[in-house]
């Protein structure tokens, strides 16, 4: 059974004349204990999608979906408080810019302690304080902070960015979530700290069998850590499959461009030549192209692309394109394949 099963989730920005479709019918499913990467350029709606799953978008946004199942429970049938209760119990989220996500006027210990669920504590109220404290210390140890006394007493501005991110992870772990959504957890962080945070997430995944949805714009970096990857472009679903499939046998021209644009793929290029990129830039929300939103930038675009493509699945490798790059030309016509690969 899927842990999380979302079908055709759309997020609209409520606007005076016409609502803007920021995320257009994206599907996402996750299995227990899976690490899934959610990749896309900035502005592709990955963070919006994550925030919509957790339910922390403000009232400027209108979210609707065809299906939203969480461990077999149909969340769309529940009232909003019930849904919120289930989601906040089982799903935790860590945000980018950890420093900004911690209350600057409350010390770390208090912020951690209030995230600990009442149901995890036992006994009378005078014992709870002590238990809370013990649980806080344990959480800090779990994320690799040894000097817990100093950390509990300090305020966010007294800690480094990486420590703040560890605290955020500790807060996320406080409710013992089944799914952890990490929204660019290492943005604006040094390389060594990035490695630490990713290793911590990987160990949590292996030890606790916690599913992780890892959101990033850096395809190459997260392939080391993920089992499966979903690619988004400008609020549309592009491609989903195992890391292996996405990285080595990309079917969507956009995924192929992403893989090709990484420095690793460009190693063989002669010095001072241009890196391989798609022309143009991601469209702004006010001027979204119709049909497949990659259309104007796509090297393989044809007349059909003005209609939004439907998702086709090849052995679990899902792709949303009229003209996918296929290894086997018999399966679907792809006349331009040779020229683009050259």
């Amino acid at each position: 059974m899927n842990l999380l099963d979302i079908r055709n989730l759309s997020i609209e920005l409520i606007h005076d004349e016409q609502n803007i479709l920021a995320v257009d019918k994206v599907s996402l499913s996750m299995k227990e204990g899976e690490v899934r990467g959610l990749v896309g350029e900035s502005g592709s709606g990955k963070s919006l999608l994550a925030q919509a799953i957790v339910g922390v978008l403000d009232d400027k946004w209108y979210v609707h979906a065809d299906r939203f199942h969480w461990r077999g429970i149909d969340l769309l049938r529940l009232t909003i408080p019930e849904r919120k209760a289930i989601l906040s119990r089982d799903i935790a989220m860590i945000f980018q810019e950890p420093m900004a996500c911690l209350d600057p006027t409350t010390n770390i210990g208090e912020q951690l302690a209030e995230a600990i669920d009442e149901s995890q504590l036992s006994g009378f109220f005078w014992q709870k304080q002590q238990q809370r404290r013990a649980a806080t210390v344990k959480l800090l140890h779990k994320v690799g902070i040894k000097d817990h006394d100093a950390c509990i007493k300090s305020y966010p501005h007294q800690l480094t960015e990486a420590l703040c991110q560890r605290v955020m992870i500790a807060i996320a772990l406080a409710r013992q979530p089944i799914l952890l959504i990490a929204d660019e957890p290492t943005a604006a962080m040094e390389n060594t700290n990035q490695g630490q945070v990713f290793r911590l997430l990987a160990s949590l995944n292996q030890l606790k069998n916690m599913a992780i949805l890892l959101i990033s714009h850096d395809l190459e970096n997260i392939t080391h850590w993920t089992n499966t990857i979903t690619v988004m472009y400008s609020g549309q679903f592009v491609e989903a499959g195992t890391t292996e499939q996405i990285f080595n046998k990309a079917m969507h021209p956009y995924t192929q461009a992403l893989v090709d644009s990484s420095p690793l793929a460009n190693l063989h290029l002669p010095a001072k030549s241009r890196l391989m990129t798609l022309p143009g830039s991601i469209p702004i929300l006010q001027h979204l192209p119709i049909g497949c939103r990659l259309g104007p930038r796509c090297p393989r675009a044809q007349q059909d692309c003005v209609r939004a493509p439907s998702v086709t699945s090849f052995h679990g490798h899902k792709v949303s394109c009229h003209f996918p790059l296929l290894m086997n030309p018999k399966m679907k016509k792809s006349p331009l394949k040779k020229t683009t690969r050259a």
Binding site: Q51, V54, V56, D58, S88, R89, A92, M93, F95, E97, A100, C101, L102, D103, P104, T105, T106, N107, E114, A115, D117, Y155, H157, M168, I171, A174, R175
Partner: protein
């Protein structure tokens, strides 16, 4: 925290020095002889005048004169009132506590009414309650205080007869002056009618304090509203809701403190405005405070009294300002402690 306190203290001392410089220069800018302006001795005999010239060092250069003036102030000698020939420092000691009492009560009313209303407006942002609070605050801010005071007297004292219209306490009660602050004096006195006096004093302060509080309260509403809206849009509030906290927990544990930090600095600034309003209100409600005394002094061209009154009032405002700074530091961990590169 010690460094913070020392910094505020040094700021206090230097600002006071600047203020004395200003009031010293006033004695030259006002018409008449500088010595007489400083001392207020208009009926001095030639021998007394010679003594005064000696005391204020008028023969020496301006710096020596200034230090002589400073010496007088530090010794508590603010001169005599030109109008009544009474000692100004005594008058101020009698009058200032009444103003302190009135303006602090007004400040508290303004804060306790304005800030929660602003928070409520921010939480219901873009809903009818928000618009109602905003338009009422706009109305309250535009009403001139002298008119509002008269209107309040007309409605609540004359038509409805609920509250007294003038004075600090009914003349029936005899309260000994100890601290000057009426409420404390009443509680300290051993009169058998202590509680009657207390309720009478409360009835007297309500109307003027509310009239003073209206304008600052509307400013606090706006400040509280904008800062709360700002805080509610920050990522830590979103993170807190992702943490699973309920809306009330978020508001009371995280939002209010952060919003208060943004407001509390403005409270100190608004206090100067409030004291100005209080001076006008004291005249309307015949409140025996320093504001009324100062306005009467201005009317009578009592230069010595104007000088000293300004000095004392600005000193009081500055003390309140520093106190709000301390509250700010207590609420905001970023303000206390040593920042990198600050020394």
């Amino acid at each position: 925290m010690l460094i913070f306190t020392l910094r505020r203290l040094s700021l206090f001392i230097f600002t006071m020095l600047l203020l004395t410089l200003l009031s010293f220069s006033l004695s030259f800018l006002f018409p008449g002889d500088a010595v007489i302006n400083l001392s207020g001795a208009i009926n001095a005999t030639p021998s007394q005048l010679a003594q005064l010239n000696e005391n204020y060092q008028t023969g020496s250069n301006i710096f020596v004169q200034y230090f002589a003036y400073l010496q007088h102030i530090i010794n508590g000698d603010l001169g005599l009132s030109m109008a009544s020939q009474s000692v100004i420092s005594h008058e101020i000691m009698n009058l200032l506590p009444a103003t302190i009492e009135l303006s602090l009560v007004a400040l508290l009313i303004a804060m306790f009414a304005g800030i929660p209303l602003g928070f409520i407006a921010a939480i219901n942002h873009n809903k009818p309650s928000d618009n109602i609070i905003l338009s009422v605050s706009m109305l309250g801010y535009s009403v001139p205080v002298f008119w509002l005071g008269l209107l309040a007297i007309l409605i609540f004292s004359i038509n409805l007869g609920w509250l007294p219209s003038a004075g600090q306490i009914s003349l029936l009660f005899e309260i000994e002056l100890v601290t000057g602050i009426q409420f404390i004096d009443i509680l300290l006195s051993d009169s058998p009618y202590k509680w009657q006096a207390f309720s009478d004093a409360t009835a007297h302060i309500i109307l003027p304090a509310c009239v003073i509080a209206v304008a600052p309260a509307t400013i606090f509403i706006r400040l509280a509203r904008t800062s709360m809206i700002e805080v509610l849009n920050t990522s830590y509030i979103r993170a807190a809701s992702a943490k699973g906290l309920s809306f009330q927990q978020i508001i009371f544990r995280h939002a209010i403190r952060n919003a208060l930090i943004k407001i509390i600095r403005h409270v100190g600034l608004q206090f100067a405005n409030l004291v100005t309003i209080a001076m006008v209100t004291e005249v309307i409600f015949s409140w025996p405070g320093i504001g009324r005394w100062l306005i009467v002094s201005i009317d009578q061209r009592d230069y010595t009294a104007i000088q000293s009154g300004l000095l004392v009032l600005s000193c009081f405002i500055f003390v309140v300002h520093i106190l709000t700074d301390f509250i700010y530091a207590a609420l905001n961990p970023l303000a206390r402690g040593i920042k990198h590169g600050s020394r």
